[in-house]
């Protein structure tokens, strides 16, 4: 992504415009995926945590994030410069490779958006909404932006110095969100009733719809990362499809063997696990590699989601089990399955490249995971001290939909669920409605 300016190519630009819209759609898709997995009383809060991330991260990215991530390196491959604060100096004529810089910046912005939103799954049902509003911009600047610079920024130490590979964001998106999710759920502590009460997903069709939208958007995420309408985009696209499929089947296979039933939540989760794992590797491995990586993620992640019950951390919607574990699998296995025809150089263990690439991938995963975990833990603790991050106990019992947003998602039964019995419109309606009444 450090191509010299070559002038705008309309085909590349058209594809990246579409890909950017696809990636943005993933966040509302994630909202549905997560929203269906929580209980009825907090589905709106879950949706809101994703939606508000779109707004918050966009503002932060345009103000400073883009410059610090993709501006010229300012300090040892660790952070970019301040030249493009507020998108300064960038206009319709600015070019990044063969696409407009403003489009490249927007494409990258959609990655930052969904990464922040992903973390919310680890703290479902129990975070103060106000604390989340503070957390997201601070986290985006202190965690996402530096890691994006390390990996993709001009002069970033992971790709440019170390030589690790990450095509579409296994490190900045998947490992970062997973490690940050783990840190934040440790700061907040488990949901009331964790391991005692059944906290079943309230709407699995919503989960399936969300997973479908995620998968659809993932083509923009991965194939868009080629930054051009070309053969590499096509290969990444096909790898994305293949890994999602083997991830889905791998997870179902484990469920059938272990639990006796292939579940819808398993199918959705397996597809996402496969897609997570192929994200870093889709531009480095052959189709065979993609099939194996997806399968490995589907199988391993389906076991990993059980860790929270054994180790006593409440990662509510399995951000760690799916994104951290899947991201590690995909990033590390590049060192095994990388092929020269895709990477244009590096080759993995299986193709005679030795252990060198594998070692680089491991260093990158450990560095990014540790950084994201530690800094997020610090931000979380600080917010918890100053504002309180955990919702009040009775708010959590009642549900955050009603207590935070004054709404309920569903109107159940003849008495209505949201309004007190006998409540009438008149007492609270705007005057225009009163007049009509």
């Amino acid at each position: 992504m450090t191509l010299a300016a070559q002038g705008i190519d309309t085909g590349d630009t058209a594809w990246l415009l579409a890909a950017t819209a696809l990636v943005l759609l993933m966040t509302p898709g994630l909202a549905l995926f997560y929203g269906g997995m929580v209980r009825t009383k907090s589905v709106l809060n879950m949706l809101m945590m994703s939606f508000v991330s779109i707004a918050l991260v966009t503002i932060v990215w345009l103000a400073a994030g883009y410059s610090l991530a993709f501006g010229d390196d300012a300090f040892g491959g660790l952070i970019g410069g301040l030249d493009h604060l507020g998108m300064n100096d960038l206009g319709p004529a600015s070019v990044h490779g063969t696409v407009p810089t403003l489009l490249f910046a927007t494409f990258q912005l959609t990655f930052a958006v969904i990464t922040a939103a992903l973390i919310s799954g680890a703290i479902a049902d129990r975070a103060k909404f106000g604390a989340w509003l503070v957390f997201v911009p601070v986290w985006a600047l202190l965690v996402y932006v530096p890691v994006a610079h390390w990996v993709w920024g001009p002069g970033g130490w992971i790709l440019d110095d170390l030589g690790a590979l990450d095509f579409a964001g296994g490190l900045p998106v998947e490992v970062t969100s997973g490690a940050s999710g783990l840190a934040l759920c440790l700061v907040l502590g488990p949901r009331l009733g964790f391991k005692k009460d059944a906290m079943r997903p309230h709407n699995l069709p919503m989960v399936m719809l969300g997973a479908g939208l995620l998968w659809f958007g993932w083509f923009g995420f991965n194939a868009g990362s080629a930054l051009g309408a070309n053969g590499l985009a096509a290969a990444a696209f096909l790898n994305t499809l293949a890994a999602g499929c083997t991830g889905l089947l791998g997870w179902l296979f484990v469920e059938q063997k272990r639990d006796g039933h292939p579940t819808t939540l398993g199918a959705a989760s397996g597809a996402v696990a496969g897609l997570v794992a192929i994200t870093p590797s889709c531009g480095s491995v052959s189709l065979l590699g993609a099939l194996v990586i997806g399968l490995a993620a589907g199988v391993v992640c389906s076991y990993a989601v059980g860790w929270k019950f054994r180790l006593n951390y409440d990662d509510s919607l399995d951000v760690v089990g799916v994104h951290l574990v899947g991201g590690i699998i995909g990033t590390v296995l590049i060192g095994v399955f990388a092929v020269e025809s895709m990477t244009g150089g590096a080759e993995g263990l299986l193709h005679g490249g030795g252990f060198g690439q594998l070692g680089k991938q491991l260093v990158a995963v450990v560095a990014v995971g540790a950084y994201a975990f530690l800094v997020t833990y610090g931000i979380g603790k600080l917010i918890d001290k100053v504002l309180g991050f955990r919702a009040d106990e009775d708010h959590e019992h009642t549900g955050l939909d009603l207590t935070v947003h004054a709404e309920t998602a569903y109107d159940h039964g003849v008495l209505g669920h949201g309004a007190p019995v006998g409540a009438s419109l008149a007492s609270s309606a705007p005057s225009s409605q009163k007049a009509k009444a």
Binding site: E255, D259, H261
Partner: protein, 112 residues
């Protein structure tokens, strides 16, 4: 008069309703219910975590009939709700002191 309450499997509701109509019962009340008997509940699995769901969905059917009809009505409900499988439900009867039709103020068997 007797209040007959039946807790049955939701999918048997139509059969019970039809049988009661054919046997001349004029009105009934149906509500959603949940509970368990000897069969306890069932198990659901989400991402490998098993949840024991004790309370199984049921419907509660209530009819008030004259004393003389009570046994026949109970028999009708039991026949219509019967599947022979676990969880078919229960039917019971209680004495009713008064019934008033709200619209007309009629009392007793006239209000049925």
């Amino acid at each position: 008069m007797k209040l007959i309450t039946a807790i049955v499997k939701p999918y048997r509701l139509d059969a019970v309703k039809t049988a009661l109509q054919e046997s001349g019962v004029h009105g009934l009340t149906v509500s959603e219910a949940s509970g368990y008997g000897r069969q306890r509940g069932h198990t659901e699995v989400y991402r490998g975590a098993e949840y024991q769901v004790d309370l199984v969905p049921k419907v509660r059917i209530e009819v008030i009939v004259e004393d003389a009809d009570a046994d026949a009505v109970i028999e009708t409900i039991v026949k219509a709700a019967h599947t022979g499988k676990i969880g078919d439900g229960k039917v019971w009867a209680l004495p009713v002191e008064t019934v008033v039709r709200v619209r007309t103020g009629e009392r007793g068997p006239d209000a049925l």
